[in-house]
């Protein structure tokens, strides 16, 4: 089993959010492999660029880069390939028809989890619950 960690979980761990760290340590007992998506990397760097005082954070950005390289080395950075892209289109239309919009980034991350049978771990219950509603076998765990 592979778990995909959403952006909010990754930041929560780095910031030492107590609840997230506790849950992570619990998860770690089962030696489950963890990965992230390329969309999380995009979000992290966009977020950093949008918030001022980036210069002060250069040291931390280097740490982040080392961490991302580790995920890369283990081939645990997931992206959309043909199968996921096709599923993304299908799910986007279903969500629209059901009147349950979710952020595009969430759908990209969720689709990767769905197609590969990965478990997604996130704090964002509102939107990912919409995806689970239209695709009940979507394996998602909310750390809220």
């Amino acid at each position: 089993m592979i778990c995909v960690l959403d952006t909010n979980i990754l930041i929560g761990l780095l910031r030492e959010n107590e609840k997230i760290v506790l849950k992570y340590k619990e998860l770690n007992k089962s030696k489950i492999e963890k990965g992230i998506t390329s969309y999380t990397i995009a979000e992290l760097y966009e977020g950093v660029k949008r918030v001022e005082s980036k210069k002060k954070m250069e040291g931390q950005l280097k740490i982040l880069e080392i961490l991302l390289k580790k995920f890369e080395k283990r081939k645990k950075i997931f992206s959309l390939t043909r199968n996921e892209a096709m599923k993304y289109a299908e799910l986007k239309i279903i969500l629209e028809k059901k009147g349950k919009p979710i952020p595009i980034m969430d759908l990209l991350i969720g689709t990767i989890s769905i197609v590969n049978n990965y478990k997604l771990i996130t704090t964002d219950k509102n939107h990912f619950q919409n995806l689970k509603d239209v695709y009940p076998s979507f394996n998602v765990e909310f750390w809220v």
Binding site: L10, L13, L14, R15, E16, V21, I63, P101, P103
Partner: protein, 81 residues
């Protein structure tokens, strides 16, 4: 023990030679390096990074808010925004 012969190019040989201990054989060296790598591969990627951004928690909280704001701005269905 059965011996197997492998060939190395000059570059690989020079790298290995740098790591080889005085009384260490090349077989022992390769085993030692592989064990180090194996251990590293088994280690959890994130455990030693937990809390590294704690001192700048406010900054990263802001980053997280920006990320969430951006997510909410780009929904799958325009008419339902």
């Amino acid at each position: 023990m059965t011996q197997k012969t492998i060939s190395l190019n000059e570059k690989a040989y020079k790298i290995l030679r740098k790591f080889k201990g005085n009384k260490e054989s090349y077989s022992d060296l390769i085993i030692r390096l592989c064990e180090v790598q194996e251990k590293e591969d088994k280690e959890d990627i994130l455990l030693k990074y937990i809390g590294l951004f704690k001192d700048n928690s406010d900054y990263w909280e802001q980053v997280e808010k920006e990320i969430q704001k951006e997510r909410n701005l780009h929904l799958t269905s325009e008419e339902n925004k």
